[in-house]
């Protein structure tokens, strides 16, 4: 799910949105407190049953948190953790993980109008 060419913070966690095609996707450093909070949210999620929601090729394709060799991808009520070759998917009906992750993005880095529509429509 990597998508871009910007300055990732190697020592910490990085948040991002998979949304652009030509431009690099927006990325931002996620502080230790925010990362812990997101992981606590993850720990509380129940396993996801069924097929993962399918994102269209163009436009918003989900938000991600990366760090420590792991990546969480949140899209439309499903959060997937990938680590090494393994993955685990959990359900996030209120899209809390996704919303909290995006809320930490620096002002203006994410096309808010479009994301607002997306989160409102599927929230």
């Amino acid at each position: 799910m990597g998508t871009s060419k910007s300055s990732e913070v190697d020592s910490g966690y990085v948040g991002g949105v998979s949304v652009f095609s030509g431009r690099p996707d927006p990325l931002w450093p996620v502080g230790a407190g925010d990362a812990r909070s997101l992981m606590a949210l993850w720990d509380a999620l129940a396993p996801y049953g069924g097929d993962a929601p399918h994102a269209p090729p163009l436009g918003y394709r989900g938000s991600f948190l990366r760090g420590g060799g792991r990546e969480w991808l949140a899209y439309r009520g499903a959060v997937t953790l990938r680590e090494g070759g393994a993955s685990e998917m959990r359900q996030d009906p209120g899209r809390r993980f996704e919303r909290q992750l995006i809320s930490a993005a620096p002002q203006g880095s994410v096309p808010s109008a479009f994301l607002d529509d997306e989160l409102r429509a599927q929230g």
Partner: protein
Amino acid sequence: MPVRITVDIFSGRPNPSVELSGKEAQEALARLTPAETLTADAAEKTATPILGYRGLIVEQTGKEANKNLPERIRLSAGNIVGRGLAHRASDAGFEDFFFKGLFRRAAGVAKLRGRILEEVERGRAVRENLLIRPLPFPIKIACLCAPRYEPEWWNDAGQKQFNNNCYNYATNYRSDTFAQPGLAAGAMYTALTCAAVLPAAVADALEDSPGANNKCPSEGHLVALVIAPDWDFHWFRKGRNGFWTHKPGGTAVTHLDNSGHLIPDPRTADRGPYTAFCTFMVVKHGHIKIQ
């Protein structure tokens, strides 16, 4: 005039056959006397090989052949074809006549007889529904100079996939830099509009071709620029089969649009937020430079 009738049904093992002679052979040939001429479609259906029952092969194996028929003919569904011959048989029901009587004498098929008769019926139905389409000649490749569609090469879930975007893919140029129009020429776009991205691509030596109308160029390949206004740009490329493919950012190459449909024309594809179609452009191989 001895006659051999072979049931043309097997592929690997020998086909069963029956030898006729004397009056029996004469009667068989009389039943197969050519009647009305076949249409071209019917003749081709009769001659087209299929797997399973393909008809009866009737061969005159003696020195004194019946001059009304070639030495070897194929009979299928009452139609006979052979050298210089494509006609209806006088007795269009000859196959039924054969299978009800003469076929019992075929050697080595006692245990298979029932199954062969079932296959005869199935083969008839298959042949009846054969659709003979004219083969276009020369075979037309829609866009001879277009790059091959090879998603597995780009979709490596690693270096190539994550570091090459729609512009890299459309131009078929792996830079591993998430290439930006105009950057290599020092003329990168300054706004996310058609008016700004188009000249940036021209600076990279892509050729604007607004009148291309989805037609392949004689040299190079066709790409299309679209814009999500003030937000992002995106590129499609036309493939050899005439359909378009694309690579949304660092994600995988795909041949589908946002509705999951093939893309015969990017102007009418579901492009999500990339609502503005800017132009077609031509990529001449070896001319462009992107970064």
